[in-house]
Amino acid sequence: MTETANTISLEALKTGDREAFARLVDETSVHIYRVALQILGDDQDAEDVLQETYIKAFRALPDFEGRSSLTTWLYRIAVNEALMLVRKRKPQTISVEENTPFDAEAESDEMEIVDFCCLPEGELLSSESRRFLEQAVQNLPANLRVAFVMRDMEEFSIQETAEALNLSKNNVKTRLLRARLRLRQELSVYFGGKIQKESRR
């Protein structure tokens, strides 16, 4: 996570100093845009979230209490905006079961057991595979996707992800496990098909 925003005077930001705010925007906006893009998978939606994040941040800065870092606070606003947009566009993608405890019984049911690690890198990283990987992330329920994007794509720690998502560390771990298992399952089916095709030749 970037901590560059720490070099900007918080006092200046809180009193509405526009130059300080412009610096904050320049130092953080690329990260906010990336996260929004990964969560939403759409340039225009990501741009809307980016703009809304800084509009809200500018309004809320005078009340910023510094309980988390400024960057974590910005991520939190951005993730909330992104999730609101997801709910608005696809209300069915946020389901109740995402908040239930991990159920090994249900998760282990019909697991695909295919050792796709043996496939050559060229196959695993082909442009077709990359498109599949992207789509698979977009198919995850939004709450799981957010945890996966923050932790495995943007490489935040569990602690940072928990702060940015306003969740407990255990909750982040459960969501991450679910997201990873679902993606593993999707990739197993996808690459399993390729292995079968290969063996028929």
């Binding site: 526009r18 705010f21 412009a22 057991i113 295919v114 490489e155 990873r180 298992l181």
Partner: protein, 87 residues
């Protein structure tokens, strides 16, 4: 190729696999998983493919910059036009 993960032990360990591949698991539980993996082909494949899944995403996440036009529209929206040139 679909199968159930066979034993109660497999199911019990499933909940710890994410932390296991991150190296964040207590040594005792780690040892328990490793002992189980010696004898369980299915779980070994699940662990390897879970690790590979995470690796593939890290490998394919491309650095995205902020497009100039997006930055410009952002600054205009925030009434920060005067500061557009200072990058």
């Amino acid at each position: 190729m679909s199968e159930h993960v066979q034993t109660p032990k497999c199911k019990q360990l499933l909940g710890s696999l994410s932390e296991y591949i991150d190296g964040d698991l207590q040594a005792e539980l780690c040892a328990e998983i490793e002992e189980h993996l010696k004898d369980c082909d299915n779980c070994r494949i699940v662990v390897n493919t879970l690790r590979k899944t995470v690796e593939l995403y890290k490998q394919t996440t491309e650095p995205v910059g902020l497009p100039d036009a997006v930055r410009e529209r952002l600054f205009l929206k925030l009434e920060l036009k005067d500061f557009l040139k200072k990058v």
